[in-house]
Structure formats: C-alpha cells, structure tokens
C-alpha cells in the first residue's frame, strides 16, 4: 500500500460511476471503407487527445460489436465520432444509442448520406472541435490508485523476457494486488503446458475446473490451426519451444491467487487478479485467436484496463489509442538500441545494475506517474495502434466471477 502515492490522481468521472485517468475523443470507423475519411479527420488533431479506432469488416460480428461498445464507453473516453460508409453491416444506430446512453457526446457521420468524402471530413472535424471543448466539462474527481485496473501483455518476446521483464512485472502485479488494485493477464495460447499451475491458483473449486479448460481449448485451437503463438523472432532471440515461451510469459502474472475468468470486453467485478480467456469458443472460424499483439492489448482495454504494461525483448513500439501503454524492455541490448520507445529498462537485471525487486518498484512508480497524467513513451510519440478482427465467444459461465 505504501508503494502507491497517498495523493490521489485526477479522475474523469463518467455517468456510470467509473473514472478515467485520460479524457480522449475517439474517431471510430465502422467499416474499412470509412477508414480514409476518419484518418483525414484525426490528422487535423495531431497534438490533441484524439484517437482513431475502427472495425474493418463488412460482415456482422457479435464480438466486434461488444468490443466497439466497450471501448467507446471506456472510462478514459470522453466523446466519440462514429464514421460509417452507410451500407455496411455494423449496427451503427445501436452503437450510437449505447454511447448516447452513457452520457458521452456522440455524432454519427454517414458518408453516403453526407455528400461524400469532403463534406464528411468537414462535419467530422467540426464535431471533434466541439467535443474537445465539451470534454473539458467532465467532472474531475480524486482517483485513488487502488481504483486502477491494470492489464499486462507481452510482445516481441525473446529469451530475456522470461528472466527480466516478465518476472519483474509479475512482482509489480503482486504489489498492485496487495494494494487493492484490479489486474488482468491474458493469452491462454501462451499457457499451453501450464494447466496445473493455473488450477492451483484459483480461489474457488469451480474456478479451478474452468481455468485449465480455457488452456485446453487454446491447445486444441492452435493444433487445428497448425501454429502456436510463436514468431520467428522469438527463436532468433533464443526461445526454442512454445512451452519455454509460455513459462517465460506466464510469470508476468505474479503469484497472487486468481479470482476470476473473463473474456474480451467483460468487466471485472471485485479487485484482484483475473485471467482473460482470449481463444474463441467452438471450431476455428475466423483465423488465429489474436493475430497480433495489438489485438491483445485492445482486449485488455475493452475489459476496462486504465493502462497496460507491455513487456518486450525484441522491441515492440506499440501504443494504445485509449489507455497508456508502459513499455518494459527485457533485453539490455534492445534497450540501448530503442531507448526512446522504452519506459523501463528491465535489462539492468542481466547487467547487474538492478535487482528484480528494484525494477518491480520502478514499474509501480511509473504506473503512479502515468495515472497522475505523465505521458508514456508511446503517448509522447503519438502511437495509437489498433486492431480488431472477427471472433466468436459464448458468454462466461456463472462460476467465473464473484460479486
């Protein structure tokens, strides 16, 4: 508890009672055909908190609907501009109503009904200008740091990830959990081989049954797809097998008991550590569960993460359109090479310049600073990667959460 600063940060109070640590305007395209118009709109707001997200598909998808709804009503979001072509399947009216019901300023620009590209861009820009003024009126309230929801993801892993950044982040996760925060880890595709370790960490017998099932599902899914969650860069960086990568990745969850299982876009209930099941239910239909790191990051955000810890060995440059991303670099050589992209140098553990405990405390200190408004490297550099594909999930069962 002493780790978290006693002075609360500034929170932006939303009508549903949730609080954000950022106050951003989203521009969201509802089909790839509306992407260019949306990009032109945000290009006018280079140094403003205006971020681009979107869904490229023209076919309907319940998961994409849920993700877009969750992100557009995320506590860090103050207002939303929806950009539709007009003939796509995405239910724009429903999303509009959901955002409106959340009390946020929202506008729908439909390119086909709005005179095409030029008029739509103009109308979009005029709304964003107004929205930037309107979000200044959002009530500012104290944000106590134990109210934070923190997600963790790794990307561009190498063999240093599992011995520096991930265990240090895991220790930081333990400190956050001790302080009463909510934490989420994910990627059941990288827990293949670790089913028994997960079972032992569940707080309830029903949950102990469910956690290994989520990993079994991932193993079956990847066996059918013919590829595990393993990229060529992982091997260049010294990782040989999926189970080796898994063990290195898994330690970033720390040692706290697991209190619940959620799927992308589900909200957490009480504080504590959650596992996110990211593998679609049923037979593989739409391809790989998460085809890239960015979609993983966005699923954590859709489940309410105010900020995301991102550990990397090879060197990811990812940042988020909605929640700040703290980049923790595992490899001292990568850190030297890409210092401007990295918030924490966990490679110091390998060069004997810091202990694992030092780095864990440095990560928590960064979290406190970022909650207080300090910009992460990826925020300063204007990163706002976003990726949302097709998936299908059954709702989570009754024993996944406690209230």
């Amino acid at each position: 508890m002493s780790l978290l600063s006693p002075s609360p940060a500034t929170g932006y109070l939303r009508q549903d009672g949730r609080k954000g640590i950022r106050n951003v305007v989203l521009v969201a395209y509802l089909v790839e055909c509306a992407h260019h118009v949306s990009r032109k709109i945000i290009s006018r707001f280079e140094n403003e908190p205006v971020h681009l997200i979107g869904f490229s598909g023209c076919y309907p998808n319940g998961y994409a609907d849920k993700m877009m709804h969750a992100i557009c009503t995320h506590p860090n979001v103050g207002a939303v501009l929806l950009v539709s072509l007009g003939c796509e399947s995405f239910n724009r009216n429903r999303l509009y109503e959901q955002i409106e019901a959340s009390g946020r300023p929202v506008k729908l620009v439909t390119i086909q009904q709005n005179g095409g590209t030029v008029n739509s861009i103009e109308e979009g820009i005029s709304f964003v200008n107004r929205a930037l003024e309107l979000i200044q009126e959002v009530p500012k309230v104290p944000f106590h740091l134990q109210e934070l929801i923190v997600g963790i993801v790794s990307g561009g892993s190498d063999a240093t990830s599992g011995i520096t950044a991930n265990p240090a982040a895991g220790r930081a996760f333990d400190l956050l959990n001790e302080a009463g925060c909510t934490t989420i880890f994910e990627n059941t595709s990288e827990m293949i081989g670790l089913e028994n370790l997960l079972r032992k960490r569940a707080t309830r017998p029903e949950l102990a049954e469910i956690l290994p099932e989520a990993v079994d599902k991932a193993a079956r899914y990847h066996a059918i797809m013919g590829h595990g969650s393993f990229a060529p860069g992982n091997a260049e960086g010294g990782l040989t097998t999926l189970e080796e990568k898994s063990m290195g990745a898994y330690c970033k969850s720390g040692t706290a008991p697991i209190i619940g299982l959620i799927k992308p876009g589900d909200r957490t209930t009480i504080p504590g550590l959650y596992l996110m099941d990211i593998v679609p239910d049923g037979e593989p239909r739409f391809g790989f569960p998460n085809p890239n790191d960015i979609s993983e990051m966005n699923e954590l955000i859709a489940s309410g993460a105010h900020l995301v810890l991102f550990t990397t060995g090879r060197g990811s440059v990812a940042g988020s359109a909605v929640s700040p991303v703290i980049k923790i670099c595992a490899n001292p050589e990568t850190y030297r090479n890409m210092e401007g992209d990295m918030d924490v140098n966990a490679g110091k553990i390998l060069t004997n310049e810091a202990t694992l405990e030092d780095i864990a405390h440095e990560i928590v200190a960064q979290i406190v600073d970022v909650a207080h408004g300090v910009k992460t490297c990826s925020e300063q550099l204007g990163h706002q990667e976003f990726s949302l594909g097709y998936k299908s999930f059954e709702p989570i069962g009754p024993s996944c959460l406690t209230y």
């Binding site: 063999a159 081989g193 590829h227 097998t241 063990m247 390998l350």
Partner: protein, 98 residues
C-alpha cells in the same frame, strides 16, 4: 560477472546473460569450453549430458525433448530440441519446403 547462469536449481540448462563471441571461452561446471559459434543473450547451453528423447528442463519445468544426444556445453536450440506440444515455426522453414 558470470556469462551464464541457471534459473532454477532443477534445470539442465544454463542461460547466457552476456553474449559470447565465436571462439570465446566460457566456464561451465568447473570446465572450460570454447564457443564454436556466437551465443546470444538468453540462449541455452547444456549443463549436463541430455540423451535423445530426454526432456530439457528450464524454469524448473520441461520445455521440450532432445532430438539428438546433447553434451555438456552444447548450444541448445532448434537443431536439438523440439516442443512436446506444437512444432516451432521459423523463417528457415520456408526455404526447406520443396
């Protein structure tokens, strides 16, 4: 600083913590070895003899099985270790395909 270290006492591999150049000497289990090729940060070196089919242990858990006999001091990677779950994909695979 030791160039290699063991993560878990149960492990039969050491991990490189400071890159070793080709031709450079390193010490393992009191014995001196010469690296026949460069060993990058995080790469694995056998701590004991591992017979073909035996499991390689890192972090205290099996991370796959040896595909050939491995001697103390040998580099352990894709050429002599395979997953017990899902085969590892590398860019070289593209060139091996007919």
């Amino acid at each position: 600083m030791q160039k290699l270290f063991k993560i878990n006492p149960l492990d039969n591999v050491y991990v490189v913590r400071q890159s070793i150049a080709a031709g450079e000497d390193f010490i393992l289990e009191g014995e001196t070895f010469m690296a026949t090729k460069a060993l990058g940060l995080g790469h694995k070196v056998a701590a004991s003899a591992i017979l073909m089919g035996q499991q390689v242990i890192k972090f205290g858990i099996p991370i796959g099985s040896a595909t050939q006999d491995i001697h103390v001091g040998d580099h352990i990677h894709l050429h002599n270790l395979k997953s017990d779950y899902i085969p590892t994909y590398t860019l070289e695979d593209e060139f091996i395909k007919p």
